[in-house]
Symmetry: C2
Subunit: 188 residues, 2 copies
């Protein structure tokens, strides 16, 4: 749980009382690898902080699903659109490896927002960061080639390339596994 406090402190200070309330709402969950956390079509009820392991957010399709993100230690995993809008999620979330999560429910988070001074400040900062991530992704999708996106991923997250099946990386970059296989060959 200390990781979470650290993470929050790195965004904005939170006083002890507020931390008390917030942390009382957190629930620890251990999940095996390749387990679906949220099925597409359901409403996301949790925002989960990963303290160990890794997860993936995607839209499952018969052939070649579409991957929206990989999440690792000290990051949040959630079908956050659905969490915010309370509408059925287009996305599915699942673990990649055995994973430990600390999660808070939608209602509990609303309570924290309403009853703490720092909650909204942290929430605002966190949402700003979420925005920045998506914004960067938009830029990448609109103005870079698949090959450039692969190389970017390679430099930003070298560990990811090794741990995660090529087909998932391909679907994150926005191409088929075959195309990524060829891009790879071209590069080396």
């Amino acid at each position: 749980m200390e990781e979470i406090r650290q993470f929050i402190a790195s965004i904005t200070p939170m006083n002890d009382d507020d931390w008390q309330l917030f942390s009382s709402k957190l629930e620890m969950v251990n999940v095996k690898k390749k387990i679906v956390l949220l099925k597409a079509g359901e409403i996301e009820n949790y925002l989960s902080f990963i303290t160990k392991g890794a997860a993936r957010v995607h839209i499952p399709l018969e052939e070649n699903d579409v991957t929206f993100g990989f999440l690792f230690e000290n990051e949040f995993v959630s079908a956050y659109d659905s969490f915010l809008t309370r509408q059925p999620s287009e996305y599915q979330t699942e673990t990649i490896t055995d994973t430990t999560l600390w999660r808070i429910s939608y209602q509990d988070l609303q309570d924290v927002y309403q009853n703490t001074d720092s909650g909204n400040a942290i929430g605002r900062r966190m949402n700003e960061n979420m925005y920045l991530l998506k914004s960067k992704r938009e830029l990448s999708l609109l103005s870079k080639s698949a090959e450039e996106r692969y190389l970017d991923l390679f430099t930003e997250r070298p560990e990811l390339i090794k741990q995660i099946p090529l087909k998932h990386i391909a679907s994150y970059i926005g191409v088929t596994p075959q195309a990524l296989s060829r891009i790879r060959r071209r590069i080396y």
Copy 2:
């Protein structure tokens, strides 16, 4: 200025004192059409609410620039990445038509966040909405064709198709003007 209060009230209530502080920071600006509000490479210092007119956010390039969004009345225009990070903006913002803006500076907004109860709550909600918009765009870019994106735009914003040059729409959809011209011909 009443539009802005309405807009904020539609997100989350703001008490009179907080509104007093916030509105005292707002500055009205009238700008002619096709005027650059923020040049790419500069640091964005304003978050601007449009009460009349329209604007565009893009990356200017020799041939075919890349468009990230069109903003109309009751929406905010800003190179928001740069505004948040205080780093030089990759994006440029400019008016499309004669436009009236109410803007707040970065420092003034931080003051509002620090000195009001409702500021962070509204900021959080606004940033959630910003996130949702970008998230929707990511989904569209990854899982739809250029033609589908054009048709989506057509149903969501019929007025836009008429008012805005095809080449800007093309660069928003992520294709060249030639390609969009052909998509159009195919459809009708």
